[in-house]
Symmetry: C2
Subunit: 269 residues, 2 copies
C-alpha cells in the first residue's frame, strides 16, 4: 500500500477526463496514456486501469447497424436463461459469447446513434491484454488492466460494474487453506477482487460523466508480471450451474416432461 | 470529490487497525471512533464507514452455541432456494431473515470458537443506524455507515462484499430518466452504489487482516441527512424473482406436477 502508516491500508480510485470521443480504429492505449499524462496522474508500478468496455467496443468497431435491437441481442445469445414480459417489453437474461449471463446479452443501445447498437468486445481478455501491453511499454512500469461492464444480479436490485476482461491483475484472491485466529479454515474461499475493483471504479467513473477510465493506485499486490489473468475465469455457466435456467422456464420444462411421462405410464401396452 | 483538480474525480478507501477483539455488549460506535482518532483519520463531513457485519454480530451477542452448524442454518432460513450435494457436504442457498439469498443463510463458523457460530445481526439497517448516530454525535459531522457481508453470486465464481445494512448512505444511484449524449434514456437505471462501496472496502479490509472497518473519503454525494436509507431495499425476493428456485428444484417440482396431471388426463371417468 502506498504512503500509509503501518496501521492503515489504503487505495485511491481516480477517474480522469481528457479522452476524446472514441472512434473505430482509435489507438486506445495511446489515448489513455496521453490522458494519464495530461491529468498529472501518470502511471506508477502496480497501478490498475479500469476501462469501461464501451469505449473498447467503439475502438474495435463493434458499433453495428441494427434496425432492431432485439435481433442484435438474438445474434449475441449463446443460450437463453430466462425471459420476463413486462409493460415495457421483454427482458431476456442470456448467456452471451463472452460467457456472461446478463440482460440483453450486453448489447447497448445507449450512447450510440439511432439505428446502431454497441456490442461487447469479441474477446475482452485479449482487449485488456493489448491495452496493458501498450501502457507497460509506454510507461515502463508494471500496470494491470481491467475491462468493466455493468450487470444486474439475481436476488439484488440495481446493477454493479464487474470485470469482463483482465490482463496483469489477479482476478481472485484465493484464501483456500487460510485459517482464522481460531485455526479454522475460512469459509470464504475466493474473493473476486477483479469484480470488486471494477465496482470501486464505477463509483468515480459514473455512467454519464465523460470519464470512462479510472486508475486504482495502492493495490499493487494484485498486479502480476504475466498478462495471462483472464476474467473469463470468473464466469460460471454450463450444466453444473445451479441457476442455468430461470425458475419459470424450469418449472415449464419439468412439467412438460412429467406430463408426457404421466401419459405414458397409463398408456395401455 | 476532495482535493481533486477539475478533471479528476477521486475517492480514497482506507482500512484502519486499532480495534480490540469485539465482545458481546461492546460499544462499537465508541470503539470505531477511538480507532479513527488514534489512526489520525478522524471523521470528515461526507465520510462513509464500511463495517464488516461480523463485528456487529459479535457486539450484539449473535454468537450462539451450535452443536451442529447445519441446525443453525436451518433456524435462520426463511426459504430454501437451492441445494447442491458435493464431496464436502451440502451447500444450501437460502433466503434468510434479512431477505438475503446466500449460502448457509449467513451463518459463519469461521473466526468463532469451536461449538459456536455467528449469526448475522437481526436488523442490519438498525445496527447501521445506531452506529451512524453514535459517530455523528461524536464527531459532529454527517457520516454514513454501511454494514457489509460476503456473498456468492449466480453465474460468477468467487464472492464479493455487499451492503446488508445502511444508514445515511443512498443505496442506489437512480439514473432513470437520465439521457445520454444522443438523447436516449440510459439502459442502466440504478447503480447499486452501496454494494459497490462495500466491494471497494473489502479490497483494503481483506478477510484476515484484523482491519474490519474501512473509511471511504470523497464520496459525500451519497451521504444523506436522513439515516433512513435501508439496504433492505436492495434485496429482491418473492414470487416475481426470476430465480426464486434453483433450476434442478424447479425441474423436479414441474415434473411432479406434470406427471400427476398426465396421469389424471388418462384416468377413466
Amino acid at each position: 500500500m502506498t504512503d500509509a502508516p503501518a496501521n492503515l491500508r489504503s487505495i485511491t480510485v481516480t477517474a480522469f477526463g481528457g479522452l476524446p470521443e472514441i472512434e473505430e480504429g482509435a489507438d486506445l492505449a495511446s489515448l489513455i496514456g496521453d490522458a494519464l499524462e495530461a491529468s498529472g496522474l501518470g502511471a506508477a508500478e502496480g497501478d490498475i486501469l479500469v476501462v469501461t468496455s464501451k469505449i473498447v467496443s467503439k475502438a474495435e468497431g463493434r458499433r453495428v447497424a441494427a434496425a432492431d435491437r432485439e435481433d442484435a441481442i438474438t445474434a449475441e445469445t449463446v443460450r437463453v436463461v430466462a425471459t420476463r414480459t413486462h409493460p415495457g417489453g421483454v427482458t431476456r437474461i442470456v448467456e452471451n459469447r463472452q460467457g456472461l449471463v446478463q440482460a440483453a446479452a450486453g448489447v447497448d443501445a445507449s450512447n450510440t446513434p439511432d439505428g446502431t447498437v454497441l456490442l461487447l468486445p469479441v474477446d475482452p481478455d485479449a482487449s485488456a491484454r493489448a491495452l496493458a501491453e501498450g501502457l507497460r511499454a509506454r510507461f515502463g512500469v508494471r500496470v494491470g488492466v481491467l475491462l468493466s461492464d455493468t450487470l444486474g444480479r439475481a436476488w439484488r436490485e440495481g446493477q454493479t460494474d464487474l470485470a469482463i476482461g483482465a490482463a496483469g491483475v489477479r482476478v481472485t484472491d484465493d484464501l483456500r487453506g487460510t485459517t482464522d485466529s481460531f485455526g479454522h479454515e475460512l469459509m470464504v474461499t475466493q474473493s473476486a477482487i477483479a469484480d470488486e475493483l471494477a465496482s470501486a471504479a464505477d463509483l468515480v467513473k459514473g455512467k454519464a460523466s465523460g470519464m470512462p477510465v479510472a486508475l486504482v493506485r495502492g493495490y499493487a499486490e494484485a498486479v502480476t508480471e504475466t498478462l495471462d489473468t483472464p476474467a473469463r475465469a470468473l464466469t460460471r455457466t454450463g450444466p453444473t450451474d445451479m441457476f442455468r435456467l430461470g425458475t419459470d422456464e424450469a418449472l415449464a420444462e419439468g412439467y412438460a416432461a412429467g406430463y408426457a411421462a404421466g401419459l405414458a405410464a397409463t398408456r395401455p401396452e
